[in-house]
């Protein structure tokens, strides 16, 4: 008899643990940099609204894949914090909940809102924008170059003056993201922007403008300023050690340079020619809502009436200083020269396409640039071939 009752107890425990309703709480997946601030904001929100916010750290690169696995099963976080270029894939899969229009929406930059829009609906609340810019070491460069021409002369001067101990200019040589400013600057584009969204059948990566841009990039290699083996890790560590005078990198890297004691400055990427500005990719970070979340209404309250406010956005900025997506927050932080530098760069920029077709572009363009930088193909060949590859990949 006791045996039976014990069995019954255990069974009922199992049933209970499977069925017991959990207290309502909002779960957020975010990467390292937002964990602290979101936890603090979560406490504030709980004090105000009585709903707990659980912030879980997920490595940035794993957020989207994890979400793609969990969300269709009705699991996963209520909110994920990530990049706007995930939107297309997640929306096509039916995993994101649109964010209805709200009162303060006009306070957000159009670029940021546009980046999170897909098919005419807003699918994310932007909080920060980012674009790469020229970062220079003031110990070597007094006046940052304003055109590519002067970048080349400055870099050459430094290369000869320090006999190779300090590199004049380094960046990731064959990565589309870092080469994009010159391609877009001369009029190249990834997908044609139309009023109803991006037209993925119109690819502008082998247009005369794009070719002209890549030729300019190749010149940097030919003149011995960029080495074909230069990649992100190399650029980052050289600059940190004070062995590089100028690099092109994004706002995410700056804190490490400050910590390393580098006397750095941030400014726009030099104009390609006089009055032809470089146009970097603009990435937007934001909050996206799980379409299958059982807490959509609370999540909306959390995002719209709490996160989207000027105060909170400012707090997030202070914890993770990136270009704020809210205009009035930018006004609060104008005295930060880094932010001004990156803002100028981003204001010239182009939002990274958020359509799923973009996945095909990276690999193809990196391959093409690799061939060009290593002299295995001319820019014309490599680019038109890359466009063919992209077409073949996205055709279905």
């Amino acid at each position: 008899m006791r045996k039976l009752s014990l069995l019954f107890l255990i069974l009922s425990l199992i049933v209970f643990s499977l069925t017991s309703a959990q207290a309502t709480k909002i779960t957020i997946w975010c990467s390292e940099k937002q964990v602290d601030i979101l936890q603090r904001l979560g406490e504030e929100f709980k004090a105000k609204y009585g709903v707990a916010v659980e912030v879980q750290y997920v490595e940035f690169g794993s957020i989207k894949p994890n979400f793609l696995t969990a969300a269709p099963l009705g699991k996963g976080a209520d909110i994920i914090v990530g990049a706007h270029d995930w939107v297309g894939e997640l929306v096509v899969n039916g995993l994101l909940e649109p964010i209805p229009e709200f009162k303060d929406i006009k306070q957000f930059y159009d670029t940021a809102l546009k980046a999170f829009s897909y098919g005419g609906k807003l699918y994310g609340l932007p909080y920060a924008m980012e674009a790469i810019a020229l970062i220079y070491n003031k110990d070597y460069v007094k006046n940052p170059p304003l055109t590519m021409e002067s970048l080349i002369t400055t870099a050459k001067k430094i290369n000869t003056a320090y006999k190779g101990k300090v590199k004049g200019f380094v960046t990731s040589a064959a990565e589309f993201y870092y080469v994009a400013p010159v391609i877009f600057g001369y009029g190249g584009y990834v997908f044609k922007d139309t009023p109803t969204g991006l037209d993925v059948s119109d690819i502008g990566l082998a247009t005369p403008g794009a070719i002209k841009g890549v030729k300019l990039w190749k010149r940097l290699v030919d003149e011995g300023i960029l080495s074909p083996g230069d990649n992100y890790q190399i650029m980052d560590s050289l600059f940190k050690e004070g062995k590089a005078a100028m690099i092109i990198n994004g706002p995410w890297a700056v804190k490490a340079y400050k910590d390393a004691g580098v006397n750095y400055g941030v400014t726009v990427i030099p104009n390609l020619e006089a009055k032809v500005p470089a146009k970097p990719f603009v990435g937007v970070q934001g909050f996206m809502v799980n379409a299958k979340s059982p807490n959509k209404v609370l999540v909306r309250e959390f995002l719209i009436n709490f996160i989207a406010t000027k105060d909170t956005m400012h707090k997030i900025y202070l914890a993770d200083p990136r270009l704020p997506a809210r205009k009035d927050v930018l006004a609060l932080v104008k005295d930060n020269p880094d932010i001004v530098g990156f803002t100028k760069s981003a204001s010239n920029g182009i939002p990274m396409p958020n359509v799923p077709e973009m996945a095909a572009v990276w690999g193809a363009m990196n391959d093409a640039l690799n061939l060009v930088v290593n002299g295995k193909a001319t820019p014309e060949e490599a680019l038109s071939n890359a466009v063919k590859t992209i077409r073949a990949q996205i055709k279905k």
Binding site: I14, Y49, V297, W362, D367, N370, Q393
Partner: protein, 578 residues
């Protein structure tokens, strides 16, 4: 003592039954039918083996059986099943789920009349806190309606997709709702001045109303009620068929509107083979057009006649994925070049690492060698260091074209030009082979050492008497005997290398790219890495396509291994000896 043990065992069986049954039912309820069936059939088998005395010997296979089902048979089944579908980005739901989403998702409703409906929510208080027990009074065209807690109408697993509430007109001070009698006070009323609604043992007090400063303080409780009940609710007036739903207005506040669903099921007559059939379709209630269903996707048509993708589901596509590998030139073009390199790479890796491993093993097997253990330990190190660290060290520390030790120090020192390790197809292949040989020779060495121990010394003594030299002894005694033991391992090592995605992905990522290829193929891409790029770097993920190629690769590897076995006669020899 025995008795207690027996009771304990019965208890464990009961527990196992309970857990499996619960999980099985849980899985089936959540529409994972296959896995649920696998689990339940495993349970039946287990019970049968234990309860039936004749099946006694099978009891010991139970653990293996469970894992066989879960880790081998189910994944195989799932891969094959997926290979015939378009499962992937845009097609991850089931058809049922996709349709449910169109029919019940609150996002697919639209507002019929722009004017919001005035409403007031009442709830039973407990310890001065509102509870979930609520009533809503609506004012529609100067008439008053009451709605109670909406009941679930459509459910999926434990998720409630749609709730429905009935609207009842309030005509008197006392009215009936769901068989209970309520009293509203004061009466006659306008919506602003109602103080409470009471029924036999409960009193409902106002908790929320828009534009009522006193009640708007309770916004938090209102939000909770929306969250829990109202967001997926339709309040239906049975007489007029009007539907009330909660929506966010332009000012960002939650309000009730008269809404309609954008998509509804409908029957359509279509002529097929001379007969008219009635088919269940989904229509857009705004445009009155039937929405298009094609290859696992639903499309709506906008005013300009353009197709708009709504939602997709994973659908059966037959052999489409397989034919695509063979007939789509974009895919099949570089396929054979990649295939050839895959075979060369696997063969050479096995050859190099085996030769190297065997040489070391022969040296270490010499008993006269001093400090054998030290050497052996040192030689096993490459195997012991984590794969990722080794490979990345090779890539960035040794072979990097600008900063690697080879191009920066060693080659200039020897007076040679730096080599474009990663951008020259030949050298990139050399790197792959070098690194993989380095990583696998310790394994071959260990295996050979073990096999060498098994060769009896008498054979060497006899051959020494016959006057055979070192080479003769190696080629006629050591090597054949060794091969008999090692050959199956070489073949499995070949199959492993054939699919060694990690090494290629970490080391060269398949590069350098093939000039002129229209697919993302590189010179060092092996089949599996090529497939990865095809399936996952296009338009999102294509699991169906990837599964199809995975099956193809399975047959390739199986075929090659079979051929190998036949040619080497490895199995026959071992079988012959026993």
């Amino acid at each position: 003592m025995v008795k207690i043990l027996k009771i304990l065992l019965w208890f464990i069986l009961a527990l196992l039954n309970a857990i499996f049954l619960l999980f099985g039912i849980y899985l089936i309820r959540n529409a994972y039918y296959e896995l649920g069936i696998v689990l339940l059939s495993a349970l039946i088998l287990i019970d049968f083996f234990i309860l039936n005395p004749k099946a006694y010997p099978y009891r010991y296979t139970i653990p293996a059986l469970i894992f066989l089902f879960l880790l081998v048979l189910y994944p195989i089944y799932f891969t094959i099943k997926t290979a015939f579908t378009n499962y992937g980005t845009g097609h991850i739901f089931t058809r049922e789920e996709a349709i449910e989403r169109l029919l019940y998702d609150p996002n697919y409703t639209y507002i019929l009349e722009e004017k919001p409906i005035k409403f007031k929510i009442f709830s039973v208080f407990k310890d001065s806190q509102p509870t979930d027990d609520f009533l809503i009074i609506f004012e529609i065209d100067k008439e008053y309606y009451i709605g109670g807690i909406p009941l679930p109408k459509k459910q999926r697993g434990r998720e409630i997709l749609l709730r429905e509430g009935k609207l009842t007109k309030i005509k008197n001070k006392i009215f009936d709702l769901d068989g209970k009698t309520f009293e509203v006070s004061p009466y006659p009323f306008n919506i602003d001045n109602i103080d409470f609604i009471s029924t036999s043992n409960k009193v409902y007090k106002p908790i929320f109303m828009l534009d009522n400063p006193e009640l708007e303080k309770n916004f938090y409780y209102f939000t909770l009620i929306i969250q829990k009940y109202l967001i997926q609710t339709e309040y239906v007036d049975k007489e007029t068929g009007k539907i009330l739903g909660v929506k966010i207005d332009n000012d960002g506040r939650w309000k009730f509107f008269i809404v309609d669903r954008l998509y509804r099921l409908s029957y359509e007559n279509i002529g097929e083979d001379g007969k008219t059939k009635t088919k269940l379709v989904i229509i857009n209630t705004k445009t009155k057009k039937t929405i298009i269903e094609e290859k696992g996707s639903f499309y709506d048509i906008d005013d300009k006649g353009n197709r708009i993708f709504l939602v997709g589901y994973s659908a059966f596509v037959g052999f489409e994925n397989f034919t695509r590998i063979l007939t789509d030139e974009q895919v099949s073009g570089p396929f054979f070049r990649v295939f050839l390199w895959t075979i060369i790479w696997s063969l050479l890796t096995v050859l190099f690492s085996f030769s190297l491993g065997l040489s070391f093993a022969l040296v270490l097997n010499n008993r006269k060698l001093k400090g054998r253990n030290l050497y052996r330990t040192l030689l096993i190190i490459p195997w012991a260091i984590p794969y990722f660290i080794s490979v990345l060290t090779w890539r960035n520390g040794i072979f990097n074209e600008t900063y690697g030790i080879l191009n920066k120090i060693i080659l200039p020192f020897l007076g040679m030009e730096p080599i474009k390790w990663f951008n020259d197809p030949f050298w990139a292949k050399v790197i792959c082979l070098t690194v993989n040989t380095w990583l696998t020779f310790p394994y071959m060495m260990t295996v050979s050492l073990g096999a060498l121990q098994g060769i009896p010394d008498e054979l060497y003594e006899v051959s020494a008497i016959d006057g055979a030299g070192k080479w003769h002894r190696f080629w006629y005694i050591t090597f054949p005997l060794l091969l008999a033991v090692v050959a199956p391992l070489l073949i499995s090592s070949f199959a492993y290398t054939f699919n060694n995605f990690t090494l290629i992905y970490l080391l060269t990522a398949g590069g350098p790219p093939m000039v002129g290829a229209t697919t993302p193929a590189g010179h060092t891409d092996i089949l599996i890495s090529y497939v990865y790029k095809l399936a996952f770097e296009g338009r999102g993920q294509e699991f169906g396509f990837a599964s199809a190629i995975a099956i193809l690769i399975f047959f390739l590897v199986a075929g090659i291994s079979l051929m190998n076995f036949k040619l080497s006669g490895a199995f026959e020899e071992i079988r012959g000896e026993q």
